[in-house]
């Protein structure tokens, strides 16, 4: 590291999953980067569950990979069990997920970044931002020194004003046992940026030896796993099990009786928690009829003593957590390494950001990750990458990388963040994507390849091979227009023999039938895929994509029409200087919301919560005038 001065191109604050991707993207785009973190040893730490991916999240990870993100690569290296979820629900919602060895993950992230020649790490804390007029110029550190850069990416996670709750106990911390960040929230508020409070929780960690494993059910991953990253070859990860157990009425009774001791119910926590990831006390309180909830015991790393209890997030007093869990046969003698806790933290409602993740108030200041009110590693990483890229684009005076709702889950994520009210931590779901059928994990490369290339985020080699894969896919689909002979048809559909002999017809038409899969189509249609140069993992994906594109053809066309309809207002931009408060024909709620959000396009305005179609008509009338 040769920086004598304290001048950089990009300053990234925080080294969680958002920070890591920001740094990684920025150094790749030849930026000189300063990373400010309280503890470099925790770079890339997975602070909650030991898994990456999952429904909708797996799609995010795949998309990150096309843009050269770090998460997919190191997940493949550190994964100990891989599984494709949702197999029975339809191809677009198939989602890859992996159990991760947290220690390997952390180590891999650090190996990739810590010694990068364009990165300098400051073990410090940011207490204020430095401005020239309304442009960012650097940050002020707790140790008193100032570092300078035209762009700053804030990824402070749960560390802003972090407050840990265990029963009535309150501890000021960013994560259990780690210091919280102070001062920066107030500093930003004084610049007119609004903040709010959210909460999230984490379950207790159990001592492996104290669990009666005979009374659990082992669950393994796929025997034929697929990796997250297109760059991963020779993929043969381990397949370690997780373990199921079930809560019971006795366990529920303990929790029910002590509900008042949970800070969520006593009113001690004012932040809003996520509905979809409820604490165990929430689940029992809200679903009284359910006699049992499923819990997963997940080892946090290979040979780990520490077991994560997925599904038992709680902020009850430690003693109650223990008594309740000990009602479950497998946990009769269980011991804690750490109790579950809830953490309250500050965030900045992301409606104050542009679609580039740059602040609308302060030029050059970017926000990414939990600080924007999201939850989850994958959501954080996706924003981190976009913020890192766009800070670099800002410095190069180039157009930012913005993805559409029809292009990527990342696009849906960011568009939702900047237009919707964040009243609870935001997690990605497939149902948030109205063009879900187009956003498949298996076509992430095809969707995003060109954009990734245009922004120099993909290596030439990967671009070339993925481009080849795309061409092969299209070519194979075209080839299926070729006809099947009568004999071939009988092989596929023996039941047709009894009826009158079918005429030869395009293979495509047979593949469209629900009962026909691509594996029953004659091999002669796929000779090109037998080429030894092609990664066998990809051959599987090409088969899947070909099959999906043919079987879903009608649906995909309908979905594309919907995209076209949306596009009409999507690109109508709204003048920057519009004074919503003076348009008295707008509803009061719309006036307030629009004044706060200040959408960039009519499409965005449409999605601002509380804005009615009538308000949109008023706006479009004003714009078209």
């Amino acid at each position: 590291m040769k920086h004598k001065s304290k001048h950089f191109d990009v300053i990234v604050v925080g080294a969680g999953h958002a920070g890591v991707e920001s740094v990684h993207a920025a150094v790749k785009l030849k930026q000189r980067v300063a990373l400010v973190t309280l503890d470099p040893a925790s770079l890339g730490r997975m602070s909650c569950n030991p898994a990456i991916g999952g429904i909708a999240k797996g799609q995010l990870v795949r998309e990150l990979d096309v843009f050269g993100g770090l998460m997919p690569l190191i997940s493949d290296v550190s994964g100990v069990q891989f599984k494709l979820l949702n197999l029975s629900k339809g191809r677009a919602v198939w989602s890859p997920r992996a159990q991760i060895d947290k220690r390997v993950y952390e180590r891999s992230a650090q190996k990739a970044l810590l010694f990068h020649s364009r990165l300098k790490i400051f073990r410090d804390e940011v207490i204020n931002v430095l401005l020239i007029k309304n442009k960012i110029s650097g940050v002020l550190l707790r140790t008193g020194q100032a570092i300078h850069a035209p762009t700053v990416v804030l990824t402070c996670g749960t560390f802003l004003g972090g407050l840990v709750h265990i029963g009535e106990q309150k501890i000021q911390a960013g994560r259990m046992g780690e210091h919280r960040a102070e001062g920066i929230t107030e500093a930003l508020e004084s610049l007119g940026i609004r903040s709010g409070r959210l909460k999230t929780g984490t379950p207790p960690r159990l001592l492996r030896a104290s669990i009666n494993w005979d009374k659990t059910n082992a669950v393994f991953g796929d025997t034929n796993p697929i990796p997250f990253s297109y760059s991963t070859i020779n993929f043969s990860p381990p397949n370690l099990p997780c373990y199921h157990i079930k809560t019971n009425p006795e366990c529920h009774g303990v929790i029910q009786k002590n509900l008042f001791k949970s800070p969520m119910y006593s009113g001690d926590i004012t932040g809003v928690g996520p509905r979809y990831c409820p604490s165990i006390e929430d689940k029992i309180h809200r679903f009284v009829d359910k006699e049992s909830h499923l819990l997963y015991l997940e080892p946090e790393w290979t040979g780990s003593d520490q077991i994560y209890v997925n599904g038992f997030s709680t902020s009850l007093p430690e003693k109650i957590q223990l008594i309740a869990l000990r009602e479950i046969p497998a946990l009769k003698n269980v011991e804690f390494l750490r109790p579950g806790y809830a953490i309250e933290y500050s965030f900045f409602p992301p409606a104050q950001l542009k679609s580039s993740l740059e602040s609308k108030h302060i030029q050059g200041l970017f926000f990414a990750g939990q600080i924007n009110g999201t939850s989850g590693y994958e959501e954080a990483a996706a924003q981190g990458l976009i913020a890192g890229v766009n800070a670099s684009m800002y410095n190069k005076n180039q157009e930012p990388l913005v993805l559409g709702r029809d292009e990527a889950y990342i696009g849906v994520l960011i568009d939702d963040l900047i237009t919707k009210d964040t009243s609870e931590p935001y997690r990605m779901f497939t149902s948030r994507a109205e063009f879900r059928l187009l956003l498949r994990y298996s076509n992430a490369d095809m969707r995003l390849l060109e954009k990734a290339n245009r922004f120099n985020l993909i290596t030439n080699r990967l671009y070339d091979t993925l481009h080849k894969k795309l061409k092969l896919t299209n070519h194979t689909i075209g080839g299926l227009n070729g006809s099947l002979s009568q004999e071939e048809i009988f092989n596929i559909l023996p039941q047709l023999k009894t009826k009158k002999p079918p005429h030869p017809a395009p293979a495509k038409r047979f593949l469209k039938r629900p009962e026909v899969s691509i594996s029953s189509i004659p091999k002669r249609f796929f000779t090109e895929l037998n080429n030894k140069d092609i990664n066998p993992l990809w051959v599987r994906e090409i088969f899947l994509e070909v099959e999906t594109q043919i079987k879903y053809e009608g649906y995909i066309l309908r979905q594309l029409k919907q995209v076209e309809r949306m596009a009409k207002q999507e690109h109508v931009s709204i003048p920057h200087d519009i004074e919503y408060s003076k348009i008295n024909t707008l509803s009061k709620e719309a006036r307030e919301k629009l004044q706060f959000v200040r959408p960039e396009t009519l499409g965005q305005a449409f999605r601002v919560s509380g804005v009615t179609p009538a308000d949109i008509s008023v706006l479009s009338v004003l714009i078209y005038k």
Partner: protein
């Protein structure tokens, strides 16, 4: 388009002389404008109270009086448009109406565009898109029952029904989305059966609504009943008898009627447009040919066709199958048939109606049959109907999506994501009716079909 922040003015009653005419003014400056163009007989300025009528003089810029009238003030938001509005009732003279409008424009108002009052009402959230559409139908409505039907839509009855359906679809969608995004917890074991049992009633509910569309259209547009038959079978005479007019010229010479003639009348409260056509025969001259061509087009458009025949000995009318839903087959000139023969004939042709247009025999039986076949029910006023093609198309789309959804659900291994797609599309179509996601073009098309002033 103009900004809704200005003030608009337009006559609210049709052009012409009459007892009174009404001019309507709406917008933020309407109170100021009315204040300037009025004065009390004692020279003072009047004070307008909301929902009250005030008698004032209407004055020129120089203070000279040009008429007097009653002015009613509707204060925002309790007005049709949701803005401050005034209704100025003056003497029913086009010159005075024009004068008032000129004065308002002098003081800062502008002429309203077609449908602008209703557009503002929509923009201000006073009515939804369905209701807005219904206003247009109300104005053009040709019968009392039609007017009352539109009045019901205006009150949001149809909207309410459709919102109910929408809510039901959303409930299904929630179950499906839950399954897609939280599949790890197997919380909906009987999902497929459950969904099937819920989706079917929704479909039939919409189908029921769709069947009301014909009724709705009959009431607003009137049913088209076309009379056809060979030349000189007595079509024009039937038209005159049915409508009790002498609109059609009748004569014993075949081919007298060379163009179609339309007469409207209220049949059991429903407007019916009876149409006499040129008889179709071979070897007709050019003008007549053209009439025959038009007859063919008209018959295709008709809600009901009256096929008129003349009785001839040894003649049976069995050559083509009788479609009782679209046609009534009538034997005319029963006055020329011997009574005994007529009795036999009636037995032989039970589906025929026997009349004498000239003597006005059997006309009531015919009228009742027309009413039955047009599907006009007497309980109509208690229901609500779809009135425009847009409403029908949107609901048909919804139907198709739900039907596709049911088809998916019939497979044990149904794809949840495709079902979701069908439900979302169904919702999209419904939304286009309620205006919640209506693209601009639709809104503009709805408003451009209004007349000035409403």
């Amino acid at each position: 388009m103009n900004t809704p922040a200005d003030t608009i003015v337009a006559p609210a009653t049709p052009f012409g002389f009459g007892g009174i005419s009404v001019v309507r003014l709406s917008g933020p400056f309407s109170e100021k404008i009315v204040y300037t163009i009025t004065s009390l007989p004692n020279g003072k300025k009047p004070l307008f109270k909301p929902r009250q009528s005030t008698h004032t003089l209407l004055v020129e810029k120089n203070g000279a009086t040009f008429d007097d009238g009653l002015i009613t003030f509707f204060k925002s938001p309790s007005s049709y448009t949701g803005e401050d509005s005034f209704e100025i009732s003056c003497h029913g003279n086009p010159t005075i109406v024009q004068k008032i409008i000129d004065r308002c424009c002098e003081e800062g108002a502008r002429m309203a565009e077609p449908g602008e009052f209703t557009r503002r009402s929509f923009i201000n959230g006073k009515i939804d898109l369905l209701q807005a559409e219904s206003v247009s139908s109300l104005i053009y409505s040709k019968s009392c029952e039609g007017a009352s039907l539109n009045h019901k839509i205006l009150q949001g009855k149809l909207s309410k029904k459709i919102i109910e359906i929408k809510e039901k679809i959303i409930t299904l969608l929630i179950m499906v989305e839950f399954e897609l995004d939280f599949s790890e917890e197997d919380l909906q074991p009987d999902l497929r059966k459950n969904l099937l049992s819920k989706i079917k009633p929704i479909l039939s509910e919409i189908e029921k609504l769709l069947s009301t569309r014909k009724e709705g259209r009959l009431l607003t547009e009137g049913a088209l009943v076309v009379i056809t038959g060979k030349p000189n079978v007595g079509k024009s005479t039937l038209l005159n008898s049915l409508t009790e007019t002498d609109r059609a010229i009748t004569s014993p010479i075949p081919g007298t009627t060379r163009d179609s003639i339309e007469v409207s009348l209220l049949l059991f409260g429903v407007p019916v447009r009876f149409c006499d056509t040129a008889g179709i025969r071979k070897g007709a001259v050019d003008v007549e040919q053209e009439g025959i061509r038009r007859t063919k087009i008209l018959t295709q458009k008709a809600d009901l066709v009256l096929c008129l025949y003349e009785y001839k000995k040894n003649h049976t009318n069995k050559q083509k199958p009788v479609d009782l839903r679209q046609e009534i087959h009538i034997i005319n000139k029963t006055d020329l048939i011997m009574p005994g023969e007529l009795k036999n004939l009636k037995k032989l042709l039970p589906n025929y109606v026997f009349i004498s247009a000239k003597k006005k025999d059997g006309l009531n039986i015919l009228k009742r049959k027309i009413k039955d076949l047009l599907g006009i029910s007497s309980s109509l006023s208690n229901t609500f109907s779809l009135t425009t093609a847009r409403q029908r198309i949107a609901l048909e789309d919804t139907c198709n999506c739900l039907a596709a959804g049911i088809k998916l659900l019939q497979d044990n291994n149904f794809s949840c994501e495709l079902l979701s797609f069908e439900l979302c599309s169904a919702l999209d179509s419904i939304d286009s009716l309620l205006g919640t996601t209506a693209p601009n073009e639709i809104i503009n098309r709805v408003f451009s079909s209004f007349c000035v002033g409403k």
